[in-house]
Amino acid sequence: MMPAEYFLAHIWMIPLFPLAGAALMLFIGRRLPNAGVNAICVGSVFLSMCFAFGAIWQLVSRPVAERVVSYSLFDWVPAGAMHTNAGHFMNFNVPWGVLMDPLTAVMLLVVTGVGFLIHVYSTGYMAHEGGYYRFFGYLNLFMFSMLTLILANNLLLLFVGWEGVGLCSYLLIGFYFLRKSASDAGKKAFIVNRIGDAGFLLGLFLMLGTLGTIQFTELGPAIAAGHFEYGNATLTAIALLLFVGATGKSAQLPLYVWLPDAMEGPTPVSALIHAATMVTAGVYMIARTNAVFSMAPKALAVVAVVGCLTSIFAASMGLVQNDIKRVLAYSTVSQLGYMFLACGVGAFTAGVFHLMTHAFFKALLFLGSGSVIHAMSGEQDMRKMGGLWGKIPTTARTFVVASIAISGIPPLAGFFSKDAILGHAFEYSPILWVLGVVTAGMTAFYMFRLVNMTFFGKSRVDHEVAHHIHESPSAMTVPLMILAALSVVGGWVGWPESLGGSDRFAQFLAPVMAHHEEAAEAARTSSGSSTEYLLMLLSVAIAAGGIWLAYRWYIQRPEVPGKIAAANPFLYRLLYNKYYVDQIYDAMFVNRTKDLALTLGAFDRGVINGLGVDGAGWLTRITSRISMVWDSWIVDGLVNLAARVVWVLSYPVRMLQTGRVSRYALFMLLGVLIFLGYYFRSTGLTLTNLLH
């Protein structure tokens, strides 16, 4: 019999299963057969998923007001006394603690659920690749980091997971490290993320110094206790710095450049890390710290504008890409922009809602594209595809479902989340709404351009590739079907009130976002439900227009896109070369950094090494040479001189010491005779008168 709320009491164990899996891969993975790797790594994620679902179930069983579980496992950083910027003394101590509330529950659902499906998919996709155990070890390490990130109850522990997923992202993008483009892409992702992380850390420090706490549950009370006015400059600075971190991790302007290159990694990695989970960490972090953000309207405006611009900017680049995964990469950047737009206009719940639905259909799109690439023997160029509908039916059907979902056609998941975001954006600023709707149209267009180029029309497949086209194994197709089902029904939890639903998703998350909801309550009343209908109708119509245009240009009259490109060569080249952003960054930052490094290297070699180290060596050698001359000539000379003087002076005495005993006896005799002679002379005695 399990004790009540067993899973809630053991949520700290959820990240440990994948950690154990990663550790096992590190130590014994090389010796295991693929089946053993599958059992350990997929099994560990399955255990995590079971624990997570159990914990979510027990959390939902609680009354709404009690749906927060936060406890510390042990003191992690007991830093001791410090004083805040306000001058209060406090005992700063960061615990290793977990937090479970509705927001965590949503993330847990996405990360463990989609993560498990992608692990299963990978067993099929990676079956014939080298480094099988290494791949799954990295995946498990990623799961550990991501789960640490979302279960953390303070910002510093979240940062640990944040860096851990960054590391795993680097390792997995560069999984095919023998290919230079892959290792370069890994480095690019890591370095670009460092820029964002610098902002994150500064924001964390400023938050600690200002509020005196970095525990999520204490942020709201700390702001209330500090009597910060609405729009306080320090809180705005904290929010902006944290947002810098989010732009790095979640690939927003101006730090999005690493995500398209990250497609160098294996496709399941793109699905797991660069679509469903890691890149949404920025959105999660902002939703987590919504207490700070909702006090900083200027920061929110920045978030909204950056998110909106990113979404339309990335979508425009996605229009002309020919690599199937790159289209999806720009689509991911664009959809992440939607989530930030939602957060920026204060609709954190809508952002998280879109995060969830996007995880379903974007993971499906990536896995589907992986299945296509698998069928095409590694070909990623859509110009060499076409007519695959009948040949890989499961992949094609699920892919189309996901494309309809991302385009925002009701009643699939994307419609509800996108509509929620656009509705809130309209209340905030109609301009943002217009940009968002245009982006939605572009999204529908490039997704169905992809679908039409890949699955319909005439086959442009190379002859030798065409023979090998085959549907993927069930390990890959079953996750596709499950995700397709989720892409259809996943949005229904957020069925809006205006369409007869009750938006249970927003209600579920409402306790976490209490601050915002009060502030936004006033704004909500302004738009009536008739406006809402109109907005929905417009966005659906534009999405349908995008789909129709893609159908017209890529099925009915395939010569049109070429003509348009030829008529606008400048615009086409600008889009095709991604606005030359990589080149501009290279010219402005990367090459300047390299120049600086080369200059510093030359300085190091010339001045530090040449003048400093070698010069010091030279100086030491010269001084030691002088010292040696002084020593051997003057010091030794004096000692030798003293010895020589003694030697010379002792010459007569030395000559007496012959070592011959008889000679010594002679000297003795002579001495006695001399003594006797002297004695006799001084006393006047002679030998004769001595005898008489």
């Binding site: 070592g659 005993v661 008889s662 005799l669």
Partner: protein, 100 residues
């Protein structure tokens, strides 16, 4: 009665022969014998003066010296044998290890 001076001259002659032997000879056994000569010269001297004075103390000393000479001869011959075993020579000139 033979005058004391005769004894003294004999003693002087013996002592001088001994001294010359010690100084000039190279063979250590001869040197040892010369030393014995010198000791006996001293003995004659002591006995002669003892008779002149009419006391027995000189005789007693002479007997001591004879004993002493015997011991000395034994020791000296022992050293010479040890030395010969090491150096295979009896020449005193060769005994110069203490020179340096």
């Amino acid at each position: 009665m033979i005058p004391t001076s005769h004894y003294l001259f004999l003693s002087l002659a013996l002592f001088t022969i001994g001294v010359i032997g010690v100084v000039t000879r190279r063979n250590v056994i001869v040197i040892l014998m010369s030393i014995e000569l010198m000791l006996n010269a001293v003995n004659i001297n002591l006995v002669a003066f003892s008779r002149l004075v009419g006391s027995a103390e000189g005789h007693a000393f002479a007997i001591f010296i004879i004993t002493d000479a015997a011991a000395e001869a034994a020791l000296g011959l022992g050293i010479i044998i040890a030395f010969f075993r090491n150096r295979e020579t009896l020449l005193g000139d060769e005994m110069d290890l203490l020179k340096w």
